[in-house]
């Protein structure tokens, strides 16, 4: 192998291919002219993902990306960069920036092209169990920079300037929260990282910790420095054994390098981080319940104020931040708060990680700028609805959120627009539903979850959700009566008003939002005893159209209750008495001879 000094990759994705052929010929000629052709290798790479900036030319190992390169620029790049090691700044793309440094490693443009990765920038790139990998990606540099140059107040001001809001769901300004804790006078303060991710179908925090635990630790250290805490606690559920293992390894490694512990990097700042394992109660994601859980008490919320920033863990000022919030902090410091604030919408800055799940082609973890529309997430990144079905609704915010039907597809997503649409941002669960989803069933599923997870402190939440669930079960069984919808609405609004914590305040949301957006479906269940999506078993009946049935026997073969009869090559029949409405025959029939009503 030749010993090349540089490698230049030119994007040869389909979009830029034509323009780049010329560029690469020109580049090779120019290199020869400069006598560098033995030292520089020109590679044609796949699409690098920033198509709007193309043609893009990346120079390794400097990791410099030149964008919108024109023919006239080639000579300058060769002479200035390669010969004299002076980078051509005017063409450079995001050199100092660590956000979104993710792309050069990946060619999957369809999925990653529209994403902008800040908190997940290292996930899937570095080895999470090696601190050196993180250090090589400018890891802990933000911490060192802050310890060297910043006062706590300047750090808080920077975070305020960035406009970062809590990513756990509430959306409270992180800078303001830190300021409140910073202003408290106390000998002991605590910094807690909330990794008690409880929404069904959400896995943002788990993946972030598993893929890049040091980012979260660095965020905790910075937050601790800002508010004047010396003790950090990661409250994580015991159901995440791998994440716990990775965190423990990361803490050990950081301690060995004097990045956690006494007199960090000789700055005089002491900070220690430990883990507390939660048993996985949903309510313990709520600040005050979480604090009680750490204290060894039963995980139940208490009224606020006093806010935890005044009187939190063991009665001391405490800041609680979500994993994703903290993972943003190092990037804000290194790329500058202005850069962070330049992303997103007017009131919601930066990016948000979503756990994209449900009926989309590409399920997975996506990080997009605030203000991206649901359509872009679902149809561009997610690749559209699976099996060519039609989009029905997107559920955001997990069991505390709501469903957004088609007319909201083009709404830019941020905290406020989702609130206005009757849902919430939540921690980032995003479940896509197609036309085969019954909204009553969805509401029932989420309410069943919150009803189980209610801690029982407030009667409306404890009893009210139970009653709501009973009504929903009744409706799905075809026993709904007139007035049930109104009853659900009245009960839901009452629970929202009279519950202490976020769990109860948000528990009726899935029901209320589906009633608001899909009232007709509820009415069909109650008045016509029909489930339009064909999900609620008790409302279905299957029958065979005699003219269409060719008597192949496929349905008979799959029927688990043996209720289909008929001779070979003769029309078959379903006995409704024994049918358990599993729908197997409906799926198995290749001649559309079975109808579901």
């Amino acid at each position: 192998m030749k010993n090349y000094k540089y490698a230049i990759s030119i994007c040869a994705g389909s979009k830029c291919l034509k323009a780049n052929k010329e560029l690469s010929t020109l580049l090779k000629a120019e290199l020869k002219l400069a006598g560098l052709d033995e030292q520089v290798k020109v590679v044609e790479s796949g699409c690098l993902g920033f198509c709007d900036q193309g043609p893009v030319m990346s120079i390794h190992p400097d990791n410099v990306n030149y964008c919108k390169v024109k023919k006239e620029d080639i000579a300058e790049i060769v002479n200035s960069h390669l010969k004299n090691k002076k980078w051509v700044t005017r063409l450079m793309l995001q050199r100092e920036q660590i956000a979104n440094s993710f792309f050069p490693h990946f060619g999957d443009v369809e999925f990653f092209g529209k994403q902008y990765r800040i908190t997940l920038r290292n996930c899937g790139v570095i080895n999470p169990e090696l601190i050196e990998d993180y250090l090589a990606c400018r890891g802990y540099e933000a911490l060192a920079k802050v310890l060297t140059e910043y006062t706590p107040q300047r750090l808080i001001d920077d975070i305020k300037l960035s406009g970062l809001r809590g990513r756990g769901g509430g959306g409270f300004s992180t800078g303001a929260k830190w300021q409140m804790a910073h202003d408290e006078v106390s000998d002991v303060k605590y910094m807690i990282c909330n990794a008690d991710e409880g929404d069904p179908g959400a896995f943002m925090d788990r993946s972030a910790i598993e893929g890049d635990p040091h980012t979260v630790l660095e965020g905790i250290l910075l937050a601790g420095y800002a508010v004047g805490a010396h003790n950090g606690i990661v409250y994580i559920r015991a159901e995440y054994p791998l994440a716990i293992k990775r965190l423990n390894i990361a803490i050990e490694q950081a301690k060995a390098k004097n990045l956690i512990g006494k007199n960090i990097l000789g700055s005089g700042f002491d900070f220690d981080i430990e883990l507390r394992l939660g048993a996985g109660a949903f309510v313990c994601g709520e600040e005050t319940a979480l604090i009680h859980s750490i204290e060894g008490k039963r995980g139940m919320p208490t009224p606020r104020p006093p806010f935890p920033t005044t009187k939190g863990l063991f009665g001391k000022p405490t800041v609680i931040n979500n994993v994703e919030t903290l993972a943003n902090i190092p990037v804000i410091i290194l790329d500058g708060p202005e850069h962070f604030a330049s992303m997103g919408t007017e009131k919601s800055k930066g990016t948000k990680v979503f756990a994209l799940a449900g009926a989309v082609e590409n399920t997975g973890l996506v990080e997009v700028q605030m203000g991206t529309t649901l359509r872009e997430i679902i149809f561009d990144i997610g690749g559209g609805i699976r099996n060519g079905r039609k989009f029905k609704a997107a559920q955001t915010g997990g069991p505390s959120g709501g469903c957004l039907p088609e007319q909201y597809l083009d709404t830019p997503i941020d905290y406020d627009s989702l609130n206005a649409a009757g849902s919430i941002m939540g921690s980032g669960g995003l479940i896509v539903m197609d036309e085969d989803t019954c909204m009553v069933d969805v509401a029932k599923f989420f309410l069943d979850f919150t009803q189980n997870e209610s801690c029982g402190k407030c009667t409306p939440c404890r009893e009210g959700t139970k009653r709501m669930l009973e009504i929903l079960i009744r409706i799905s069984e075809g026993k709904g009566v007139n007035g049930d919808i109104e009853k659900l609405e009245r009960l839901g609004n009452m629970i929202k008003k009279s519950s202490l914590c976020g769990l109860g305040k948000a528990a009726p949301n899935p029901v209320l939002s589906t009633i608001k957006q899909f009232r007709k479906e509820y009415e069909a269940h109650i008045n016509e005893h029909k489930c339009p999506a064909g999900v609620c078993k008790d409302l279905l009946s299957y029958s065979i159209i005699k003219d269409k049935c060719i008597g192949c026997g496929a349905c008979k073969k799959v029927c688990p209750s043996n209720c289909i009869t008929g001779e070979k090559k003769m029309p078959h029949e379903i006995s409704n008495l024994e049918c358990i409405r599993c729908g197997q025959c409906y799926k198995a029939c290749k001649f559309a001879a079975i109808i579901r009503e």
Binding site: E132, A136, A144, T148, E210
Partner: protein
């Protein structure tokens, strides 16, 4: 030395370590290793790779692990990096498939397009 200078030293060491690794192992394979990856069977792929390395005495091959990159429906994902080549990601890997990847991609330098992301 102030904290920042101290850290820069650490970063330099880490980068040197990574560069050394690149020099030492011109071929590097990274297997996803997160809860989702493991559930999809990444563990079996990883141990198969270790076995292949041992069996065939592939000294130039580095086998590493990374976290989840977000493509949950395509897991297990294996990334193959070779010096001066575009990194390639293979998806939905199995022990049998990874054997083929080593044979085709790493030894015969032929990318198996239909398995790549």
């Amino acid at each position: 030395m102030n904290p920042l200078e101290k850290l820069k030293e650490m970063q330099k060491d880490a980068q040197a370590m990574n560069a050394g690794l690149r020099e030492h192992f011109p071929v590097r394979v990274y297997v996803g290793n997160a809860t989702c990856e493991n559930a999809a069977g990444a563990g079996a792929v990883y141990s198969e790779l270790l076995k292949i390395k041992e069996e065939q005495g592939l000294k130039e091959l580095y086998i590493g692990q990374t976290g989840c990159s977000g493509r949950c429906d395509k897991e297990p994902i294996v990334q193959v990096m070779m010096e001066d080549k575009i990194p390639v990601k293979y998806c939905e890997m199995t022990p049998e498939k990874i054997r083929k990847v080593v044979e085709q991609h790493i030894q015969n330098k032929k990318i198996i397009k239909e398995w790549s992301l």
